[in-house]
Assembly symmetry: C2
Homo-oligomer: 200 residues x 2
DNA sequence: CATATTTTAGATCATATGATCCAAAACATA
DNA sequence: TATGTTTTGGATCATATGATCTAAAATATG
């Protein structure tokens, strides 16, 4: 029983993600979302709740399709150094390949969130921390295998890679120049005694 | 002739900066600005123009009082290494000392700007580039003085410091932990063979 | 003191926005 | 086929928002 849904959940969430990604949460109106998702406001409200709930859902959808998969994929690389370099390479190529300069929805959202919304901040933080943890796991493995020189502090190196990646994602939105993004990544890898990124 | 202004331009711009800094451009309404600035909408419009013009003016005011002065101050340090370390130290202390977790207005704005506003993007880019250029000048001087090892590429090192600083400012808003911010900076300095930051 | 000029205060306009309501539509199940 | 349940479309509500208008207020200058 019950009328079946006409919309494809993946497709409408893709559309919502695109709007939030391009314009940010505040600058995206519910009517604009409805048009992009090709749904009425009532259908959106019925399926996802209010704007804030839709945003949260869109973030999850985005992360499932990008960051989480990317970490899992590169974690399986033959060596820790290759995992780190491959992750950076893919992040840069995604940044440069996006003609809309949208950067990273997770990073964009982390800067838009205010102190008045601790739930959202905690959620974003937990997700961001998976990046830092990924770098730390790779570096720890590299230390054991001898790829990472003994003089390098693994925790600080992970923090450096993490902060530099965030910076690259900021620049992806405002100044997406290959020489700049690749230079930052090259500098980070070289500083850890690691071989350069693979070619794109 | 003409009625004199009742407001203090510095004070009202400070108030406007605080609102934009805390909440972002889109999430700040003109009425809220009027209340914070203790001016009427008409007075604001008369003195600064529309919301966008006020934002631009507020950005200038913010930059005059923070970034530009900070670069000039640290550029005068006794050594290039001290200039870089001192700049990072001050950026981190400002981040951690702000109970409101506002991060950096310039970085926040860089992520909020959309492709539809190329003028604002160009302005933000020009200002961001002064940071990159500061690092590059310091590193080039350090190379000449021998503080920077010959094996390090000055351009890439500048890009790394730049991107890492942006990342630190992102984290200042969403996850302002001393161990994290200082760890990233320590990692960056260590990677360049530079001595650690001065104590706070 | 009179005048010209700018600022200020409050009201207001047209629109945008988030959210919701209601009735019609659609379909699985009995 | 009849029933019950969910979705859908369109309208609408209350409020928020950016911007502007008008008239009163204030003061330097002649």
């Amino acid at each position: 029983m019950a009328r079946p849904r006409k919309f494809d959940e993946t497709a409408v969430l893709d559309a919502a993600v695109d709007r939030f990604w391009t314009q940010g949460y505040e600058a995206t109106s519910t009517r604009e979302l409805a048009e992009s998702m090709q749904m009425t406001l009532a259908s959106i409200h019925n399926a996802f709740g209010d704007k804030r709930a839709l945003f949260r859902r869109s973030l999850e959808h985005y992360l499932d399709g990008s960051l989480r998969a990317r970490i899992a994929r590169h974690e399986a690389a033959p060596s820790p150094a290759a995992a780190i370099a491959g992750f950076l390479r893919e992040s840069i190529e995604r940044s440069l390949g996006d003609g809309c300069r949208r950067g990273c929805l997770l990073v964009n959202s982390a800067l838009e969130v205010t102190q008045a919304d601790p739930d959202m901040r905690d959620f974003l933080n937990a997700e961001l921390t998976t990046i830092e943890d990924f770098f730390r796991r790779c570096l720890a493995k590299g230390r054991q295998s001898g790829e990472i020189p003994a003089g390098i502090d693994v925790d600080d190196a992970a923090r450096l890679l993490f902060s530099s990646l965030l910076g690259i994602r900021v620049l992806a939105r405002v100044r997406p120049e290959r020489s700049l993004l690749e230079g930052a990544a090259r500098g980070a890898l070289a500083s850890l005694g690691l071989p350069p990124m693979p070619d794109s």
